[in-house]
Symmetry: C2
Amino acid sequence: MPAPARARAKTRIQREKQDAILEAALDIFSVHGFRGATIDQIADAAGMSKPNLLYYFASKEAIHRRLLTSMLDLWLAPLRELDATGDPIPELRSYLRRKLEMARDFPRESRLFANEMLQGAPHAIDVLEGELKALVDAKAEVIESWMAEGRIARADPYHLLFSIWATTQHYADFDVQVRAVLGPERGGARRFEDAARYLEGLFLNGLLPRRAQ
Amino acid sequence: MPAPARARAKTRIQREKQDAILEAALDIFSVHGFRGATIDQIADAAGMSKPNLLYYFASKEAIHRRLLTSMLDLWLAPLRELDATGDPIPELRSYLRRKLEMARDFPRESRLFANEMLQGAPHAIDVLEGELKALVDAKAEVIESWMAEGRIARADPYHLLFSIWATTQHYADFDVQVRAVLGPERGGARRFEDAARYLEGLFLNGLLPRRAQ
DNA sequence: CAGAAATTTGACCAGTTGGAAAAATGGTAG
DNA sequence: CTACCATTTTTCCAACTGGTCAAATTTCTG
């Protein structure tokens, strides 16, 4: 009769331990992927024994599922806030900035997602084809209307979003490479400010209406 | 007294089997990463037994090492060909195009590399900090000189290269997501042409000298 | 064809893996 | 203190893991 079975009325200690497990699991899964991670590793990182961990989560997959779904919410939030009634340039600039901040502040979440994608999204394909596609379709329409009104330059809105995702998440997913190439000085805390400045220039110059220049 | 020990004078059958193993291993490693892949899986995919596979490669790591190094050569070739004496815009456009073609034609290699990066490049960190950094430093200088001459707009050359890598590799590494979001029609063979058109627009409009417009 | 060399197989092994069961511990309301 | 609950630990297991080895088989060479 373990309490987690009913999943209702969590005690303080349950919440704490579950959080510790999820925190540790994020560390491990984001680096090694689902198959490459072991329960022992996660339990170690969470400071408990394997059976103890399995008292709070039914299985390795259950932990991963929880991480992935709660992460997807976090991940899609910035796009949801893209406001059709706002000014296109500030809206897109702020979306870009927020995505880059997420790569900086939640690199493990980004890598967890990247791992899932590399494996063909076995646990997330439904979300991608359902929720994500619907959201992107809607926002692409918004962007397209901005283009139709001549407020930003014409470009494929889907690929525009892809390129924002790719360029920002790159700083989380390929962090080792970025640091290695930039070296100790430029690869330090500066790198995100430099990236922000560069990416704003890249996207805005590519998106500003032609005649406005 | 197995022949592979000496590594010289390979027979036809040795070359064939090793190729089959590397081919199969690329399939597996690129999806599951190093830890997540098993020798059995690879042997199965290569149509042979595990001991037979281990007759040709000393260990799982040996296969992975071979794949990674031969892949890195392929991966860096386009950048090596960036010609300082050429015209900046055509040079960068052709670099962009070649990188996108590689994402299209060698998605498994891209994912193998991505997996290695996600894990913190345990097997490739030396190449990143050595060969890759040196190459990028050199090419960044070339790009900087183009900017100094006013032939392209000013931008951080390192982050420019990062954004080219990120946007092109995205179509290999996040292929599932791209397909899911674009849907069946736009996510088919078209997607690379659309991406090429979009990315050229993005980068060239961002890089063209301001006054030239 | 004989013989040697190269290749393939089957049996095996020690360590790891995800997970189950049950016993032991701890905390707390009566 | 005690009975009951949640929590933790100990022990265990069957499947899988990377890898070895000797024997059997196939292929090449003269």
